[in-house]
Symmetry: C2
């Protein structure tokens, strides 16, 4: 069988990781044929890698798209360019994988989704954390009714510590003009996506307390506490920061049938615990006559399939889906949800009020543009950092 | 040495527990001499208890105060009566212990504190949870600088489950007129007090999302998510509910030197963990040059003195303090802080905006009075519930 031929747009941090995955043979039904970047040294780093000699270099993504060398492309450029490069790829008849986030503002992402929905090409988002066995299991337990109707969702995810030197390493980092946001857009898009994917719910109201440059000399948010209300009456809290160390990664979902807690107990281990009620809470509440008292419960250490293929899992699935060998795992248009959530959190703080979802796309863009207009230009060396084990 | 002679006003749930503590000889330097209640059966239950035959019965607290039988009194009546009965006691020349909360609204508590500050008698609050070795240790580690400047405080305390039958057991329960609040005023005053006592900080701004009768057929709040901002820039979240089971009791304080986490790992065990940084975070942030990276850390299972004398601890300390044998552990006027916090949480939701502390006492009372005026009168049997192990 022919392998799917991949091109990568942007071979800086994440793009170069993907390039090496292909060159190391980790993508069974995919082969790297082309890379595109504006920096020659980055292109050379890929083609100098073992087996990279056959990979064609481009500095213009449209040229690469039109080259006939690719069946699919991976978009790994700064956030603002994601939607346009995805649209260009789909319009060029290419399948496309987009790095997170789908974009910075909902209006742009909706335009991308409109093109994707009309296209017969496959479109996926690099939501590699969805491949984590623990998160897949959590979603399964929500979707199959094990947990029952969700009542509360609390995620404290403050394990995204960054020091000032991180922010000083790139002039575009942590600016409204360069990244369009801070911890939400750069560190947290996975958790924001998982929140809605695992629960199967988007909040209908968000009230958020974002702090801008609280712990660092930056202009974007580096500390966020968001309160959410869901259509079914559930509420939730999402707390994140790049200023906390030691951080916390603790995600609890309370349902009518019990409570699911995912705790990051070490850098490599997540523990999933389900405390199961013998009688659903709503039934107990209505029928119990003893005043004080709770339903009996049982604590279960949840087992998973142990598989956590991350980025190569997404790429293998994508190549296989293109070849018709398996269904597509992540529908790329779902990237809108996390952008909508992140935008709602910023918008609530900017407006100092509760916002309802879906947000007003034009209002958000207008508010963002105000901040871009006032965005400072940082003078900073464009340092390439060692990102090993820093993306999750 | 003469023992301190105690009277108790209100010998329903908590008052009867205190009465038995005296009669069982648990208060070394205290003796029960009088009890006051409007219900004869409750008075009889105390005097029929072993050794209770000498205890004098009263139905009017002022008569008991004037009887010459008491050096000190314990106030264990419904919340609204606390301040007036404390004031009457102090004005009668008696030392006084008040059950939590200090009152329902700040204006009333300030009037009580003004009297207490002029009095030469001792006044304490039954903040028995402050005697818990784990909470004492946490406060010690904040106060002695071990934790460093506090940056974040998150307490999810949802282990206060109550079923509808609890609320149906008393006509006064969970009404604005009868209790003046719900989970905050009845279940959570201890945690609210501990929050400010352990951290040594009161927030300067509170934005709260209270839900009234969300999980039960009641008119007061049974679900609260509060966001707090402290004068030093720290932020925090406090989440409580009587609708969650299995609940969570997890209290984390992040400081510049590390993170302290208290987790209720079973019904009888709290685990206290300190993850200590080798370099304080603010210093690391300013000096580290590597981009990605965090200070090295060490996980310490914190040992405590293991003592947790609870209510009898407060009463023994109080009797001893009256006799000049040891310093008073809890200054009763500190009860204002938890009332101010609880009031701010309700007020923020009532006004649908962030409130600054100290709150406007008159505005709070006016808002509360609106709700008392509209308060429904419940027709319910006044059932005595078995409260064993339900107060913490």
């Amino acid at each position: 069988m022919e392998k799917v031929r991949f091109g990568i747009v942007g071979v800086s941090n994440m793009g170069s990781v993907h390039a090496r995955s292909f060159l190391e043979g980790k993508i069974e039904n995919g082969v790297l044929t082309a890379v595109c970047d504006q920096k020659q040294d980055r292109l050379d780093a890929v083609t100098a890698y073992k087996g990279g000699g056959e990979v064609k270099q481009f500095t213009d993504h449209l040229e690469m798209y039109a080259s006939g060398l690719c069946d699919a492309v991976i978009i790994a450029v700064p956030h603002y360019y994601h939607p346009q490069l995805v649209i260009d790829a789909l319009n060029s008849g290419l399948h496309v994988v987009c790095e997170k986030p789908a974009g910075v503002y909902t209006k742009q992402v909706k335009e991308m989704n409109a093109v994707a929905e009309k296209s017969d090409k496959l479109f996926t988002m690099m939501f590699n954390q969805r491949t984590n066995c623990v998160y897949r299991k959590m979603r399964e337990m929500v979707m199959d009714g094990t947990l029952g109707e969700i009542k509360r969702v609390n995620w404290i995810i403050t394990t995204w510590y960054r020091s000032q030197s991180y922010y000083d390493s790139g002039g575009w980092r942590a600016t409204w003009r360069g990244e369009g946001g801070g911890v939400l857009f750069n560190q947290c898009p996975h958790q924001i996506d998982l929140l809605q994917w695992i629960t199967g719910m988007m909040p209908e109201r968000v009230h958020s307390f974002c702090h801008f440059g609280k712990w660092h000399d930056i202009e974007v948010e580096d500390d966020v506490t968001a309160y959410m209300e869901f259509p079914n009456g559930a509420t939730g809290v999402f707390v994140t920061s790049t200023g906390d160390t030691p951080g916390t990664n603790r995600f609890e979902i309370l349902g009518n049938n019990g409570k699911l807690v995912c705790e990051n107990v070490s850098e490599t281990e997540d523990r999933l615990t389900f405390t199961k009620l013998k009688i659903p809470e709503r039934e107990f509440n209505a029928t119990y006559k003893g005043g004080f008292g709770e339903p009996e419960k049982e604590v279960i250490n949840v087992e998973t399939d142990g598989k956590n293929p991350q980025h190569v899992g997404i790429l293998n699935n994508f190549a296989n889906a293109i070849l018709g060998l398996e269904p597509l795992f992540v529908n790329g248009t779902e990237g809108l949800n996390s952008v909508e959530l992140m935008d709602s959190m910023l918008l609530s703080t900017w407006l100092d009020k509760t916002v309802t979802l879906p947000i007003d796309d034009d209002l958000y863009l207008a508010e963002l543009n105000k901040r871009i207009a006032a965005s400072r230009r940082k003078e900073a060396a464009d340092v390439v950092l060692d990102t090993s084990n820093t993306y999750r």
